[in-house]
């Protein structure tokens, strides 16, 4: 008889591990917040007691709202316990030139997306209004420090689309508590000493340092950059991407607010530097700031000086008191995420600079994909693995091309870093083709060749026109659609004015949520 995958062991207790555990358990072992008996899956998470998780401030995509709701965590609890705040998109400063240019990549889709593709109709107005401002109320509302919703807006509902900024360590703790207390995930704190295989090459057991043998049908590797199962045990080849995206180092620190009521930015601010960029993420109690850079182009000392300068310009005077942390990483990913009966999720499968906060989004995608394959007969493991690996590879290609796009369109010439980024040998061939095409047409859904994409055409439009790409205006716009687009531009301006009056200050709303909570409906 064909065995169906029932026992699942997750290795690693960071955000990736607990998020995966919670998603699988919520999808298969719970209904409306109640545990099903007997459970469909037996889920065990093994966490080494001596490994600290990375835990820098992180950004999520709007998909995290749906994920949290699905696993049954109240948004109020999440915001309050993870020092979390609302993220409405990213602001890119000095990416095009190094003289105070700025553009916005909002989380909301262009107005009227369901009715028409509005982008070509904006081209004639490019001198008057930025693309993102023409099609979304979000950039200006964000600049005005306003939240994406009101205190009376139900949990996980929005007025303007949003994800989160969060403290990854606290987030991981909340997920752990929820997964173990509410979702029946079994938690083992042990160091893995040995991994044994079956005759067919599948992993049979994990043996812990104290000799306990743990067996399962499916092993999920969430061990972070150590990649214990996929990388170390199976030696699946790693595909380095440093020749495309050079950044391999980061200096990170936590910056307290100078006043308890200081404004909390509701977008990630990403400021380009001579050989990298600085992230600035506003949590409730502090900012998370870091400089991610290319060690081939910049020494740690130079990176620190540039970060110091950034901090001074943003009003931080005493930087000596702050706790600096240096991180190094190998940009790239394994050539597959699923090998035999082992699936790697999170940094165990790959990592790249956090320019568009794709890390947690990819964890969500992987866990969702895997969850949708279950229950899976063991005989179909290879087939399911092959399909997930294809999608995994496609996603990594898209992430790399999309991140690279941010650099390729830059006109900065203050450092070899930016020249090297525009060197055609460093640009994936498909991206070179797209950039050529986009001189004549706007980025559209057809340019992104598969469904189930991480970045929709709108994201390319926001970046490409934020970076002032000069697409030729169309000579053949239909008058009726020109009129429809004009109405949508006017509607966007109206919506923005209305929302500017109705939306609360971002920090005020977060404070109010601490006091009253968000209504569940």
């Amino acid at each position: 008889m064909d065995t169906v995958i029932k026992q699942i062991v997750i290795v690693g207790g960071g955000t990736a591990g607990w998020l995966t555990a919670a998603i699988l358990a919520a999808d298969h072992n719970a209904d409306q917040g109640r545990l099903l008996t007997p459970a469909t899956l037996q889920i065990t998470l093994i966490e080494s007691p001596d490994i600290a998780s990375i835990g820098v401030g992180e950004g999520t995509w709007p998909s995290m709202r749906n994920t949290l709701q699905r696993i049954g965590i109240s948004e109020t609890d999440f915001l309050n316990s993870c020092d979390a705040s609302f993220k409405q998109g990213s602001q890119f400063i000095n990416w095009c030139t190094n003289t105070t240019d700025s553009y916005f990549h909002p989380f909301s889709l262009p107005i009227g997306t369901a009715e028409m593709a509005i982008c070509p109709y904006w081209l004639p107005f490019r001198q008057q209004v930025a693309f993102a401002d023409a099609v979304s109320p979000q950039p200006r509302l964000c600049a005005a420090g306003l939240a994406p919703k009101q205190i009376s807006t139900a949990e996980y509902s929005f007025i303007n689309n949003y994800g989160y900024h969060l403290d990854a360590g606290k987030f991981s703790n909340l997920l752990q508590q929820h997964a173990t207390e509410k979702l029946g995930v079994h938690h083992v704190k042990a160091h893995i000493a040995q991994i044994t295989n079956n005759a067919n090459g599948d992993i049979a057991t994990l043996v812990t340092a104290d000799g306990t043998v743990i067996s399962a049908n499916l092993f999920i590797d969430c061990s972070g950059t150590a990649s214990l199962l996929l990388g170390k045990h199976y030696a699946v080849p790693f595909v380095p991407q440093q020749h495309r995206l050079f950044n391999d180092s980061a200096l990170a620190l936590q910056v307290p607010y100078d006043q308890p009521d200081a404004a909390i930015a509701s977008c990630t601010v990403s400021t380009a530097q001579p050989s990298g960029w600085v992230w600035d993420i506003g949590l409730q109690s502090r900012r998370g700031v870091g400089h991610v850079y290319s060690s081939a182009h910049c020494s740690d000392e130079q990176a620190e000086q540039q970060l110091q300068r950034y901090l001074h310009q943003s009003g931080v005077t005493d930087t000596a008191q702050l706790n600096w942390r240096k991180l190094s990483f190998k940009p790239g990913h394994y050539n597959k995420c699923w090998h035999h009966n082992c699936v790697a999720i999170g940094m165990a499968a790959g990592f790249i600079e956090p320019l568009e906060a794709s890390a947690l989004a990819l964890v969500e995608w992987s866990a969702n994909y895997l969850s949708a394959q279950l229950p899976l007969p063991v005989s179909l493991l290879t087939l399911a693995a092959e399909r997930m690996n294809q999608a995994f590879t496609r996603h990594w290609q898209q992430i790399i091309e999309f991140l690279k796009l941010h650099y390729v369109l830059s006109k900065r010439s203050d450092h070899a870093y930016w020249h090297d980024h525009r060197e055609s040998s460093s640009i994936p061939e498909p991206l070179q083709q797209l950039v050529q095409l986009w001189q004549h047409k706007v980025p559209s859904a057809q340019d992104i060749t598969h469904s189930d994409v991480l970045f929709p055409a709108a994201s390319y439009q926001y970046i490409v026109y934020g970076m002032h790409m000069n697409t030729q205006p169309y000579s053949h716009l239909k008058p009726s659609l020109v009129q429809q687009a004009d109405q949508l531009f006017a509607e966007n301006a109206k919506r923005r004015a209305h929302q500017a009056a109705a939306l609360p200050d971002n920090r005020q709303l977060l404070n109010k949520i601490r006091q009253y909570g968000l209504p569940p409906i």
Binding site: S152, P519, P520
Partner: protein, 245 residues
């Protein structure tokens, strides 16, 4: 505007309160907060719905008097006769204010009667006197004091009631589509009501819990009160007809 002050028999000895009803006194309200202990009286005349306070996002139980802002269909010819007056309407111009009092070195929060001096009900000529000539409180003021106490406890109890409704997913939003005699169609949004499917599916132990706290009765009162939408429609049609005529 309003100017809230702590009531006292020295400064406010001569004040009187107009207790008649009228738009000029601010009675032209669309709805007012209510609470389970009052549901029995309220449901005899008005629909009871649930509404989120815009400032806190918290749910209130409300008695509804009209279909739109500043519309109180029960207030006719500046009269609001023959109907039960919800306490949160009757309380004006008084409110409860919290005050920290130190007693034997320990701080207590006391609830004291406050008065809105800017209310058009407050004057020195007509209405109910607040104090007896020598400074003792009038029977009217004693009534007010008891009423404020009831409201205070009622709203606290309402919070517990709402928490249980939310916990058991017993609230749902609804949109009221109405058509008036003149053929015009209107929509009323932003209110919530009891989700009767969730109610019907409640396990026995939850029903027992709701019953023991007196909330099961309140839930059915709220459901029954929905038939009062017909009274609102009738009043609205009458009002329209009289304006046309």
């Amino acid at each position: 505007m309003s100017k809230h002050v702590l009531l006292n028999s020295v400064e406010h000895l001569d004040l009187k309160i107009i207790t008649s009803r009228g738009a000029e006194f601010g009675d032209n309200v669309w709805f007012t907060p209510t609470f389970p202990q009052e549901f029995r009286s309220v449901q005899a005349h008005y629909p009871i719905f649930f509404h989120k306070d815009a400032a806190t996002g918290q749910f209130f139980s409300v008695a509804v008097f009209g279909f739109t802002h500043q519309e109180n269909l029960f207030l006719q010819d500046n009269n609001w006769q023959g109907y039960y007056l919800p306490l949160t309407v009757r309380r004006h111009p008084f409110l409860i204010g919290k005050q920290a009092v130190v007693e034997d070195g320990v701080e207590h929060i006391q609830h004291m009667i406050h008065l809105d001096l800017d209310s058009p009900r407050v004057n020195k000529e007509q209405g109910e006197a607040l104090f007896l000539p020598l400074g003792g409180s009038s029977p009217y003021l004693d009534d007010v004091s008891a009423m404020l106490q009831t409201i205070h406890q009622g709203l606290q109890d309402n919070t517990a009631f709402i928490d249980l409704l939310l916990q058991h997913k017993l609230l749902e939003s609804f949109t009221l589509d109405i058509q008036l005699d003149d053929g015009s169609k209107h929509q009323m949004m932003g209110f919530y009501t009891i989700n009767e499917d969730s109610l019907a599916a409640l396990p026995a132990e939850v029903l027992a819990q709701l019953h023991n706290q007196g909330y099961l009765e309140a839930i059915y009162m709220a459901i029954a009160s929905q038939s009062n939408i017909r009274s609102l429609l009738r009043l609205k049609n009458q009002l329209n007809a009289s304006t046309v005529a």
